[in-house]
């Protein structure tokens, strides 16, 4: 199976879904000819057409190659850590969540030196906090 064929099919399906979503965009009577749905609908149709062409004129790259990149263990681990860290951003004290994210990510990426694992996460979390809080007056989420 070729990678482009899947990408093309996904583009067609996505374009179709968007086109349907565009049809539900409200229009006003004042805009008789060029309504709010005109441009996104035009783009969705173009997406369906180009997705169809990609499905037919797919390149040589194998699907397994794309999936190998997408599902590489390093990627999955790092992506999972990013999602947890980003989505918990509003709930957890910034200094704690950043320290924990740095520590776990560094361990997952192969760091084993105790001094590095102590100093770097602490330095990065406190450094970024100080930079944003005091340098740029951004109120980051903190518990106290």
């Amino acid at each position: 199976m070729r990678s482009d064929r899947i990408a093309g099919l996904a583009t067609v399906v996505g374009g179709a879904a968007l086109a349907i979503a565009c049809l539900s965009i409200e229009t006003s009577l004042a805009q008789a000819e060029l309504t709010a749905r005109f441009f996104p609908l035009l783009l969705s149709i173009a997406l369906i057409v180009l997705g169809g062409v990609l499905t037919v004129r797919s390149g040589e790259r194998a699907l397994s190659q794309s999936l190998r990149e997408l599902l590489a263990p390093g990627v999955l681990t790092f992506a999972a850590l990013l999602i947890v860290y980003f989505l918990s951003f509003r709930y957890v004290d910034f200094r704690l969540s950043t320290w924990l994210f740095m520590l776990v990510a560094m361990v997952a990426m192969g760091s084993r030196r105790p001094l590095e694992l102590i100093a770097v996460p602490l330095g990065v979390s406190l450094g970024i906090y100080a930079l944003f809080r005091y340098g740029f007056a951004v109120l980051l989420p903190v518990w106290m």
Partner: protein, 495 residues
């Protein structure tokens, strides 16, 4: 208005002695060197991450930081290109051809010095072109109507879709996705809500800066996590004396000028960037340097691409500051930074803010000078940047991305958006869909839509007006030619 007031220029130059401005530019240059030199990270990612930090600072501090980062980032990609045969950014790929060959021959110090001086020359010449042409073009652009803006926006978008990644088809799909993202929120003409998924946070549209952080930084660091770059760095080896450089440059003076002209011209073309400029210049150097062994360690093979990729900086600012159309990916991000400062880039920018335009020019000169001074002075230490291990660099940048996304409007929603869009960007990359057209599509999509609709409404729904008006017609013809050349060269989908 044909030229900017000399008083503005003089005033801007005197402000360069301001320690604050000098400090911000220096900081930008240092950060730019780190982002440019770390393989896989780019100046664009650096500018995207730093942009939210500029909320609380003045225009001059913001531009000093970001333009310093811009210039240094484009130069610093040459360091890993020379020392580990891996370009820090795509724009430095051509430098690997002769730069790494020089390093293998024990001439890494010479190659890095050539890259520093060439980047300085390219940046400075393009700043001079910016000074000469931008005010003229801005005056010309004042005559543009919605019809011309639509064609110009479409031209910029198709240019990048056609050349990005080698597949016109995938580039176009990426551009369409970007434009679709740009339609989310309140319809700019009629005020109706579109594609917000019921999320009130999206009523104002997909926020530009978090989207830029997502696509340029998160996508890149996730890709790096898959294959952390090797850091088998060659030592700098035989030292050179700086006076040895002068005869080399005198011998290659026409190559410097030609490469600067190519880089600036490519930069002016909306949507293109340093990668194309450096390869075209390298090709030109190879064509005309018959006596030298191009590809085997010829100085011309470092001079040409490095002059060209830094010459893109001034060139790419021309369409941004005169038409509001980004010349490359970094200037797409700079639109966000300018909007943060309450400045709408476009034909009125130079007319209404001649002093700020002059200041930006002066900052460009300062940034390039700092690249020269730091680059030559610290060239033996620059390779240390390559030794920052990815296991530290990548999570730290991830943390900066989250904080930067939050800082845009103190909203955790935007932090989540950064993660979602960044990971979606990585999925696209795995399937060979380039990211740059998507981002340019996000920036240009609203411009294209509003001007298409206004152009049609103003001309009684007559679509032929886009062809019959001379400038618009010429742009659309150029667009067809770009597409035809790209399809002929690469096929519709190279795969």
């Amino acid at each position: 208005m044909d030229v900017i007031a000399l008083a503005d220029l003089a005033s801007a130059l005197t402000r360069l002695t301001d320690p604050g401005l000098l400090g911000w530019t220096l900081l930008g240059v240092i950060i730019g060197i780190v982002f440019g030199a770390a393989p896989g990270l780019t100046a664009t990612a650096g500018v995207a991450i730093m942009t939210p930090l500029t909320f609380g600072v003045s225009f001059e501090a913001s531009m000093s930081l970001l333009l310093g980062l811009y210039c240094a980032g484009y130069f610093a990609g040459s360091i890993p290109a020379i020392l580990i045969n891996t370009p820090g950014a795509p724009g430095n790929a051509a430098t690997t051809m002769d730069g790494y060959a020089m390093a293998r021959k024990g001439q890494a110090d010479l190659a890095i010095s050539l890259a520093v001086v060439s980047s300085f020359a390219g940046g400075l010449i393009s700043a001079a072109v910016l000074l000469a042409f931008a005010p003229v073009l801005a005056g010309f652009a004042l005559e543009f109507t919605a019809v011309e803006y639509f064609s110009l926006g479409l031209f910029g978008l198709i240019c990048i879709a056609a050349v990005s990644g080698g597949s016109v088809l995938k580039g176009s799909i990426s551009a369409l996705l970007g434009m679709l993202l740009g339609t989310v929120g309140i319809d700019p003409v009629g005020g109706m809500t579109r594609l917000t998924l019921g999320l009130p946070e999206l009523l104002g549209g997909v926020p530009l800066v978090p989207a830029l952080i997502a696509f340029f930084a998160i996508t890149e660091i996730v890709a790096q996590a898959a294959s952390p770059a090797a850091t088998d760095v060659l030592s700098v080896q035989r030292s050179i004396r700086l006076r040895e450089l002068l005869p080399l440059y005198l011998r290659h003076k026409w190559l410097v000028l030609k490469s600067a002209a190519i880089g600036t011209a490519i930069g002016i073309l909306p949507g293109t960037g340093p990668t194309i400029a450096s390869w075209i210049s390298y090709g030109e150097a190879a064509r005309s340097a018959s006596s030298e062994e191009m590809g085997k360690g010829a100085p011309a093979g470092v001079i040409a691409p490095e002059v060209a990729n830094n010459a893109v900086t001034g060139g790419a600012l021309i369409p941004l500051l005169t038409l509001g159309i980004p010349g490359d990916t970094v200037t797409a991000v700079l639109i966000g930074a300018l909007l943060i400062q309450g400045i709408d880039p476009g034909p009125f920018f130079i007319v209404e803010h001649g002093d700020l335009f002059a200041l930006m020019l002066a900052i460009l000169v300062l940034a390039n000078t700092l690249v020269l001074v730091l680059g030559l002075g610290l060239r033996r230490y620059l390779p240390l940047v390559l030794r920052i291990p990815p296991r530290i660099l990548l999570p730290a940048i991830g943390a900066l991305c989250a904080t930067g996304g939050f800082a845009v409007s103190n909203s955790a929603f935007e932090v989540g958006l950064v993660a979602v869009l960044g990971l979606a960007g990585y999925v696209l990359v795995c399937f060979g869909i380039p990211i740059a057209p998507l981002v340019i599509g996000l920036v240009l999509g609203p411009i294209i839509e509003v001007n298409l609709r206004n152009g049609l409404i103003a001309n009684r729904m007559d679509p032929t007006v886009f062809i019959t008006r001379p400038i618009s017609g010429a742009l659309l013809l150029a667009l067809v030619i770009v597409l035809a050349i790209s399809i002929r060269r690469f096929g519709i989908n190279r795969g």
